[in-house]
Symmetry: D2
Subunit: 351 residues, 4 copies
């Protein structure tokens, strides 16, 4: 198969570099364009900043020249790791010019015509692109993946909603510092400390799952009627968000075993289509009494799975559990990449 040339917008940041690392020897895609802000434009990627992922920057990227991101390039598919404020107008410019933009930014998630997509959760929402193109008159388009905290929560939420009818979710997160990018969180704020606020995060987590679990009709997406209450904290962890959930259901499972079975048996299109980045098991359930833990479980299924543990009764809602996922892999670049793979596998993108 001839590879599809792709670009990475915001290629010098933390998530941009994650996109690059995931695109090394990718079976569908080949990076031909790297773009970033004016500050980096004209430099090589190696000159523009260190390889945050560890070790030396892979040689195939080190010598690529960074293009200015506001100058639309000659490539039909781009991954966007832009900061949200820059992402708004820039992604539209690329979409207008014919590119399909797979965005990790928050700028367009609330647009009712932009799919907020997790392939295991709402693969049919890609069809919203039709409405988007009609309405905006773009030859390209924009697809987003949700916030990292939402992404890992919505996988088990999908499985449990299907099985038992989810009605309420109370979620408290303990989020990794990599979620704030680089330089991001000052060390004086987080060593021997917890920061019980991540600006704008709770609003995203309380709303995004409603769109993700919503129903696509002729008029667009009808939100799922699930009430979510979120409290988001930053902790001294490099990668991996831990989330404590209490859940209420329309038809609660009879016991923990029934709930766990619904999680373990959950499979979806990415697994059926055997997408290159898809985890074999999108939801893992750990047997360990004190699991999951970020350092020990974040790399499960190459960082593309959500690991669940500590399923037990909740005295207030129905059940409690803990979940854990890699925030810059499945929670960011990996999630966006999986979205693009889904569209290729469905024949919606061609080389």
């Amino acid at each position: 198969m001839k590879k599809i040339p792709v670009g990475v917008l915001g290629a010098t940041g933390m998530v941009g570099q994650r996109f690059l690392s995931l695109l090394i020897d990718h079976p569908y895609f080949e990076v031909t364009v790297v773009a970033a802000s004016e500050r980096s434009a004209g430099k090589t990627l190696a000159e523009a900043g260190r390889w945050m992922i560890g070790g030396e920057m892979p040689s195939q990227f080190a010598k690529m020249t960074v293009q200015p991101v506001d100058q639309v390039g000659d490539v039909g598919l781009v991954f966007s790791a832009l900061p949200s404020d820059a992402a708004g107008p820039t992604e539209i410019a690329w979409a207008k010019a014919g590119a399909l933009v797979f965005s990790n930014a928050g700028a367009h998630r609330r647009d009712p015509l932009v799919p907020l997509l997790v392939p295991e959760v709402n693969p049919d929402h890609v069809n919203l692109l039709e409405l988007q193109r009609q309405h905006y008159g773009w030859s390209g388009g924009i697809l987003t993946n949700p916030n990292c905290t939402t992404t890992h929560a919505v996988l088990p939420m999908r499985a449990l909603h299907d099985a038992f009818g989810l009605t309420k979710v109370l979620l408290v997160s303990m989020q990794a510092i990599s979620g704030a990018g680089y330089p991001g969180v000052p060390s004086l704020d987080i060593i021997d400390n917890v920061v019980p606020l991540i600006k704008g995060e709770e609003e995203k987590v309380e709303w995004e799952p409603r769109k993700l679990l919503g129903t696509l009709g002729a008029q667009g997406i009808e939100e799922a009627q699930i009430t979510i209450s979120a409290h988001c904290n930053r902790v001294a962890v490099i990668d991996g968000h831990t989330e404590c959930l209490s859940l209420a259901f329309e038809r609660p499972p009879a016991d923990e075993a029934e709930l766990i079975a619904a999680l373990r048996e959950f499979k979806a299109e990415p697994q059926t289509l055997n997408l290159p980045s898809a985890p074999t098991h999108p939801i893992l359930v750990t047997e360990l009494a004190d699991g999951p833990q970020p350092r020990r479980d974040r790399d499960a299924e190459r960082g593309m799975a959500t690991t669940v543990g500590r399923v037990r009764r909740c005295p207030i809602l129905d059940y409690k559990l803990v979940l854990l996922g890699h925030n810059t892999l499945r929670g960011a670049a990996g999630g966006s990449l999986l979205n693009a793979e889904l569209m290729v596998a469905k024949g919606l993108i061609k080389a």
Copy 2:
């Protein structure tokens, strides 16, 4: 005033040393006995282990000889920092022999005849001692303070229960490593990690506030009818437990301001009696959007206050907030010491 001679049981551990440090130049008490397990007995305190609090061990303690804790000593008041398994029979032996035991251990908290005491919350529960003595025939007695996580939660719970009638509390904690003592949590378990389980902790947090907020009648304590759901996590923080709470009320406050006012205005007997270790304000409310934080707020009011922040609506229960307190000061040794000060100030203990 002539000082009351006191002993510290478990004087070589983390909490034992906190007792010692708080008893330096104490206006009511003077340490005359230090006791610990067989392993340390006969050594001086300096030989028995390093001063965990920092710097050199204060000279007045360094040369004291450790007595075996299972051999009842000649002192009428002891503070117990024993591990729970040792605390059970040992504290009873001291109580039988006439000592008033102020225990930080969990062993007797569930005994319906043992007061579980926080002076701002249920000072009248000291009267349970009468029933205890009658029933067990002890000339001394046992009083306990709650688990560190409960202690800091129950202060605002008291204020809010009085004002609005508390019905439900969903609590997620991020607890400091000092809560597990020394050596305690292995560094390989907690650096770049979160451990989403603290054995036995959730059971304590879900039950202790019911006893603390209960009513003492002729038959003993009638538990408060509050439903609590807890999820307890360990994080890489030295001192200071952070707790995210969602709360439901019988008569919810009209807005955040009303809830905050109830917290700010809360005062109780320790403040009226001007107890030496009492905080001027047992509950502080921070104005900072990203507060409270353990490293920045744990030492407020010499570690004896609970700091509350981020009061806001909860889409599922009524309100959400974050609270923070020092787990080895107010949450352990300081809490127990305040209990003893309360009894002295009330004339129930004499020099």
Copy 3:
């Protein structure tokens, strides 16, 4: 005694706030001016940034209005916590206008007419101010304290140089993140990591002790002939620099005991003059086999002492040891304050 009004330049930063906290209820000084960059000027201190030291900003400072630092204020003594680039011209402007500037910045340390002062080490160097005023025609003047890493090394160096004639020092530091200010070191750079470079630091550490231990003559300071080799690292510690030293002497001590005695017996003018911020023992020697340690020893003598441990033979030079000191107290604001106290006590500054 009537208090001397003082200003703090760079009052909104980490070191500036340390100056403020040390000046609360100071017996000699009273803060009447707080100045900072344009960005903060006109705001109150509380508006200009959070109180990094912990808890709430003391009320006496919270409402003070920040003055622009480049506009010379009406005060005869200022402490400067400015960043080095801004410090250069700004401190000169204040000195010209008649203020005595006690600077923690690096800008003027290399000026042969500016004293680099540690009161226990070279108190006579204050006399260099005469030459400085003559030469530059300033009515005020500039005095600096050394870099934090130098400060803690030079205290034992002075004691050992006096006793045994120091010739070589090989020094490897493990420095706290607070040394880089706020926001300073990104958490992604330091959690689960070591950064083996602190820009410009090694040059300072290899040179400053030569000036500090030098001899003031009619022509200025003649540097001490000591060869220093430094390697400076950043580690995940909040406060407290740890330094491993190997030392060579003209007349090596016969054994460890002789070296330790020279450290323990060291006293100097700040102790004789009983300066308010002076430690009783400027050099402490710990008995603990695994000491000193930053979290456990940094607060010794209110952060104003250097703690030494692990004195032993070096197979290459003569002896090895470890030392530890608080980098933002004695190593920065506290050191500068002690310099000012020295001049007051010597009658060189009057109210």
Copy 4:
């Protein structure tokens, strides 16, 4: 090629599990025996303890039954990850019974008849086994790899000794917590802290390179005449030891470039023989001004290389540099495995 059955002694510990993980699908070896202390014997590996490396224990090991380590098993080659005290007699028992023991323990390193081996450094020392067998009358034998800190230092020391004649090395280490095993370092000792002592470590580091760089003659090994001074510290890093070295030479290189060239060009038998675990480049030299760093460079060459950076003049000795290596891979299990691969490739072990 038929695989050689091997055993792992101390299979339940940190280093034991690293051996197991490196032996998954190994081209030469197949694990048929796992042994540990009485406490674990009879259990399955999964029952005996959690998989410290992360995620779930590989299924091929989970169900293996742990044998008691003091009962010699039916296998001709074992890797020993035993604690040093247990390793002494136990490894001798296995050697007597005919097994070739590749030991990571310190017990026999000082035995003049036991090779202390790093394949790039002293591959000819395997021949010492002949003398060992003759003298002790064992049908098997014992080979050791050095301490983790020595291992990473001795690779560049070999290259530089060959090129310039090394005479003195002053080494200060900042070592990872995984080096102390599990539970190992208490978190209260290392978060926001440095511990400037690792018991016994400095003695090892000052002596082992002399044996490693020594010459094997008819009478055994003549130590290299290099004087080493070590200071070893523990820091809050999970994996990866950082070491600051100052070096003196008989024939110092003319400049940094000449020294770097000697490191870059260094190759040895493992590379020539293309051993399965051998790094392509045993010594990497980073271009980054602030490298190497443990979290960013420890995994270079699958954790089997030493990365060097910051090469510069030393004012006291000749040159300074920083080096970094993975302490539980090349520094422990990986180093021992490479020793065994060397002997297979040389035809000294047969299936």
